[in-house]
């Protein structure tokens, strides 16, 4: 089975400042990694995903994440945030093979961008 730990439940940051949302995972098999974003009263939408290849993944809205296999991490970063980035961010993992290929989510990080 896989598990995901999002180390910060809330991250306040000022507009135009950089931000990093931390995500660590645990798995006995190789995994795919995802970041989803949830705006208030909306469903989750995909920000970016790592399936294979380059460990630096670029997503929508200027976000990027880096897969670090040795540290089992997949931290999300943005060099300069906007007010509109205020949302809940979820890291998720799924096994590449085997029966347990369901998507397992972390508990989320609320990013609040302050003016």
């Amino acid at each position: 089975a896989q598990s995901v730990t999002q180390l910060d439940s809330q991250v306040p940051v000022f507009e135009e400042a950089p931000v990093e949302l931390r995500c660590n995972y645990s798995s006995s098999v190789s995994v795919y990694l995802f970041w989803y974003v949830q705006y208030p009263n909306q469903g989750l939408q995909l920000l970016l995903k790592y399936l294979s290849g380059s460990t630096l993944v670029k997503g929508i809205n200027g976000f990027e994440a880096e897969f670090n296999k040795s540290q089992t991490s997949f931290h999300l970063r943005k060099p300069s945030v906007h007010i509109s980035d205020t949302a809940e961010y979820f890291c998720a993992v799924s096994a590449i093979s085997g029966s347990a290929r369901q998507l397992t989510f972390g508990s989320g990080t609320q990013l609040t961008v302050l003016p």
């Binding site: 469903g43 989750l44 939408q45 979820f90 799924s94 397992t104």
Partner: protein, 116 residues
């Protein structure tokens, strides 16, 4: 392209009453998921369908929850009877393809249930 449609968006019921949620996935998506999202938590899988077959329902509390996906398109999730602890958001998602682990899920806006 229309997204994943869920209804109702909000439902308030008294405990022991039944409730049903409906989901219409994206056209052509063969896999449909129901997730439970408690306040301040990430979504947790309840059941996954591939076409009309429930291939993973290990997390579905079968004493009070049931689901169906007739004809492999729309799906209904039912709770009978509802308990106070069932208050949560019920998310439906769909995806296309056989590589389940790599599939990108498209989520609906969710159905928020409040049990009084």
């Amino acid at each position: 392209e229309a997204g994943v449609v869920q209804s109702p968006r909000y439902k308030i019921i008294e405990k022991k009453q039944p409730v049903a949620f409906w989901c219409n996935p994206i056209s052509g998506h063969n896999t449909l998921y129901w997730y439970l999202q408690n306040l301040g938590q990430g979504p947790e899988l309840l059941i996954r369908y591939e076409n009309e077959e429930a291939v993973d329902d290990s997390q579905l509390p079968k004493d009070r929850f049931s689901a169906e996906r007739l004809k492999g398109v729309d799906s209904t999730l039912k709770i009978q009877p509802a308990e106070l602890g069932d208050s949560a958001v019920y998310l439906c998602a769909s995806s296309f393809g056989q590589t389940a682990g790599a599939n990108v899920l498209t989520f609906g806006a969710g159905s928020r249930l409040t049990v009084l």
